[in-house]
Amino acid sequence: MKFGVIVFPGSNCDHDMIYSLGEILRQEVVPLWHKEVDLKSCDIIALPGGFSYGDYLRSGSIARFSPIMDEVINFANKGGFVFGVCNGFQILCEAGLLPGALLHNVNQKFICKNQYIKPEHTDTAMSLLAKSDEPLKIPIAHGEGRYFATKEVLSEMITNGQIVWRYCDADGSLTEASNPNGSIMNIAGVCNKNKNVFGMMPHPERATDPELGNTDGKVILESIIKSFN
């Protein structure tokens, strides 16, 4: 199995994703430059965090037009596995591969901290190894992470089981206080209807290295690996 990590010029979590997948989880991983048009026969495409093209406009709004994104969109439409973290999630929403949008945090500030999340469903490729009664501590770092979708879209997502991760407190309660950015329904991560495209604001790759004292993120990335085996 081969991972490809898309590198936009303003990506800044590409190294972290490659380190986590390659050095910690011992997977084959290659960087894919945004100007390329070849996915190098990767099985899984990851869009990392960062500020793709500066994101002075809306986050991800320019990145979706980069040369490699056409390939990513084709790949996803053919059923290829794609996941985006943080800015990667924003880009996937902008590209129309995921429903909804990510708005400015409700407090209008960038927020970086450890945050608990828990799976809404444990039958998706990214939550296979998670347990609904065991919240995971995963770092967040974003200014535009407030998930929003219209009522209609949301109810369709619920019916299809597309809500994957929700913000909660250490005990797993879905409270308002444990919602860091004002996301609708405490949503932290979603997938598409076919369940081959995923996006989440929290950074699982930041919580995999035992030397940093938190490996909860492994549950998420290892779920992907397991779902392929």
Binding site: P9, G10, N12, C13, H15, D16, Y19, S20, E23, K35, G49, G50, F51, Y53, G54, D55, Y56, K109, F110, I111, C112, K113, N114, P139, A141, G143, H203, E205, R206, D209, E211, L212, G213, N214
Partner: protein
């Protein structure tokens, strides 16, 4: 171009004095034209030339085994950290821009310091910010604070460097003139450093990065004048930051390093093109011919002097080995960056600037720069009146408050003491996945050096109030506290960078503060064997309160780098387990001088710095390293601002534990809890290591005492409950937010 006739008056308008104007004419053998005069005015400004500080800076220890470059020789200091790696680090001020435009001022401060690091070929892996503001209740202070924090966050978060530490301090003396000091730390392969040098006749000179505009013209001169009510009129002197361009420059620079095609590179900060062309030339004993018509511009109708002096951000000057132009151009093309050849290196000590087919300026490179022809001054200094009037405060002359629990609540919610969570949660502290202190907080930021057994510890420290009270001792304390913070993580201090924020050098009392601080800093750095690798000097910091203008609290911020050779020995600051023993390392002293308690609670503004002894501080540091090296302690946390009570609370908060302690009989209870006598540390020790711990303390003959033990969540002092940690944590963590929102 309409050339202005240059007279002494013109020179004075540009910030030069008569003596300097004469010196320029002597160097040139004629009257300079306006462009040339502008060149001298920025290059001889305080900011670029260090003319009023260099004499004293040279007295600091600037050599040591671990240094790979001399202080001030390159864009930043470079230290050997083993494993064939080197660490580049430096701190810089951006005070004056922040006073008038906090958001861009802070953003470009972060940009500038990171550019210093990656221009050398090192990738920035950590950022620290040392900030000083006026009274937090003042609406202007709130505007400044919010702008500065957002500026630092927006720039650094996008650029992708984690914030590992810093300070925020409030005092009226900073009301109109905040201090914004940014430090960056980077690592690189040893021996791969790109020098800031121009040499090799015929080698092409490139400008890369952003286009040049009219922003920041005379920024260096602006930074070298007093901040006044009219300073807002100087807003065009402020630069505008673009972190995306900076990110592209970073990646392109690091790729460039691997091509071997680069002779030298320097970032364009203060004084723009003229600064980098002259400094790089002087260093290589060469010169340059530059055609300013070739510089990519973002604005029409720019004059030659404007292009030369522009401080547009995210630009660098690169000298390329002749014949390797294509290699370099290809790298910048990949990153969609401007990369324009604007001239070439010559083997003559001259800079020739052409514009639109005309020679517009010709100056000797060496006459422009520090260490060359730039003037060097020795200024007068005299101890200020206030210093002679300061008297030690005898705690017994201060009435002891009846309810110490109220004092405790006051102290932990004071903006200088309370958690800075409101600030640091706006910074990305985890990008690059190397911050070990997220999940194991410690007295300094600790960075994992991936692929090695090593971790680095970084901290910024300075208690401006102590320095005001006694600049010599205060500066020593700043160095010693930085060293102690580093040692509390288990790291050995290696070297420092400094950011020297003072008032006007032409004010003998403010200059006295500078001189005395340098003396104290030098003594402490020699003791700890932590050479000064570089940094910057920011003079002219002053505040006007009730129509009285005076210097800000003198603030020589120390940025220290330390190394943990075996990262498994990294020590945190938090209590880990109920039942662990709590020890006080150091001597309990009857001292409340300059404490937050005395200053803010009792309102006594003038007292000497708290107790300090340099030899004792050094011995304590060695002891701390022995303790963590032998794995005898569970946590170490330095007793500093706010005193012992605050130290204990900070250790208890991360794991929601409490403590039960008994105060010492020899001093009053308030002195014990809130005094800030230096050279003290709180250790928690697991009961099975108690005997080994005591043995080591006795062997080292260092004073210590058992305070009590860690509890499940209640805080008890002499059998009186001070409340539960969850409530105290809530107060401590939300106090700043409550002031601001």
């Amino acid at each position: 171009m309409s050339e202005v006739t240059v007279t002494l008056e013109t020179a004075k308008t540009l910030g030069l004095n008569e003596e300097e104007f004469e010196l320029i004419q002597k160097y040139m053998g004629r009257i300079p034209n306006f462009t040339e005069l502008s060149i001298y005015s920025v290059m001889w400004s305080e900011h670029a030339s260090y003319k009023n500080s260099i004499t004293w800076l040279k007295t600091l220890p600037r050599e040591g085994g671990c240094l790979l470059t001399g202080a001030g020789d390159e864009n930043a200091g470079l230290v050997d950290i083993g494993n064939n790696l080197a660490c580049a680090f430096k701190i810089e001020s951006h005070n004056h821009p922040c006073a008038v435009e906090p958001y861009q001022g802070a953003a470009t401060g972060v940009g500038g310091i990171n550019r210093d690091i990656f221009t050398m070929g090192a990738r920035p892996i950590a950022q620290l910010n040392s900030l000083r503001f006026g009274d937090i209740k003042n609406p202007r202070t709130q505007w400044l604070l919010k702008g500065v924090v957002k500026g630092i966050g927006d720039y650094g978060n996008s650029f992708g460097v984690p914030v590992l530490g810093g300070e925020v301090f409030f005092d009226n003396s900073f009301t109109t003139n905040p201090l914004v000091n940014a430090m960056s730390v980077g690592i690189m392969e040893k021996g791969k450093m790109i020098s800031a040098i121009a040499k090799g006749k015929g080698n092409p000179v490139y400008i890369v990065g952003s286009s040049t505009g009219k922003d920041g013209i005379h920024g260096a001169t602006f930074a070298s004048a007093d901040i006044t009510e009219d300073s807002a009129d100087d807003i065009p002197s402020i630069q505008v930051g673009d972190p995306f361009q900076e990110k592209l420059l970073l990646e392109a620079s690091l790729e460039l390093m691997d091509t071997g095609a680069v002779v030298g590179m320097q970032d364009m900060g203060a004084a723009g093109i003229i600064c980098s062309t002259s400094e790089m030339s002087e260093k290589g004993n060469s010169g340059m011919i530059i055609d300013l018509s070739k510089v990519p511009l973002r604005q029409q109708n720019m004059e030659a002097w404007e292009i030369l002096l522009s401080e547009s951000q995210e630009r660098m000057l690169v000298v390329v080995e002749k014949g390797k132009e294509k290699i370099v151009e290809k790298v910048f093309d990949k990153w969609d960056l401007n990369c324009k050849q604007i001239g070439e290196v010559i083997d003559e000590d001259m800079l020739y600037f052409h514009y639109k087919g005309k020679l517009v300026a010709q100056v000797k490179a060496s006459t422009l720069v520090l260490g060359g022809g730039a003037p060097v001054y020795e200024r007068e200094y005299i101890a200020p009146q206030y210093f002679n009037e300061i008297k030690t405060v005898n705690p017994n002359d201060i009435e002891e408050p009846e309810n110490l629990k109220d004092v405790a609540d006051f102290i932990i919610q004071h903006p200088n003491i309370a958690s800075k969570k409101w600030v640091y949660e706006q910074y990305d502290t985890m990008v690059r996945t190397n911050n070990i202190t997220t999940n194991k907080p410690s007295d300094a930021g600790v960075i994992n050096v991936k692929g090695t057994n090593t971790a680095l510890a970084v901290t910024t420290d300075c208690n401006s109030r102590y320095v005001k009270a006694n600049p010599e001792i205060g500066a020593m304390i700043a160095v010693a506290e930085a060293a102690r913070n580093v040692a509390c993580t288990g790291a050995r201090p290696l070297a420092i960078t400094n950011c020297l924020n003072f008032g006007s050098p032409y004010n003998p009392e403010a200059y006295w503060q500078f001189v005395m601080a340098i003396k104290g800093m030098g003594a402490a750095c020699r003791k700890f064997d932590t050479p000064v690798t570089g940094g910057n000097v920011s003079f002219y910091n002053q505040t006007t309160i009730n129509n009285i203008t005076g210097p800000v609290f003198p603030t020589p911020t120390i940025g220290m780098l330390g190394i943990i050779e075996d990262k498994s020995l990294h020590t945190g600051l938090c209590f880990c387990k109920k039942g662990d023993l709590i020890f006080h390392i150091g001597k309990v002293r009857n001292d409340i001088n300059s404490s937050e308690y005395l200053y803010s609670y009792h309102g006594i503004k003038n007292s000497p710095p708290p107790y300090f002894d340099l030899d004792e501080a050094y011995n304590l540091n060695n002891l701390l390293l022995q303790l963590s090296g032998a794995n005898l302690i569970r946590s170490l946390h330095d007793v500093s601002d706010g005193g012992l009570y605050v130290t204990l609370v900070e250790s208890a908060i991360p794991k929601n534990l409490g403590f039960d302690i008994t105060t010492a009989a020899e001093v009053r209870k308030d002195v014990f809890l809130f005094g800030e006598a230096q050279n003290r540390v709180i250790a928690s020790v697991s009961p099975d290591k108690e005997q080994d711990f005591i043995d080591m303390m006795i062997e080292n003959d260092f004073p210590f005492s058992l305070l009590g033990h860690v509890t499940k969540g209640e805080i008890r002092i002499d059998d009186i409950s001070f409340g539960f940690i969850r409530d105290i944590k809530e107060k401590y963590e939300t106090a700043l937010e409550k002031c601001l929102e």
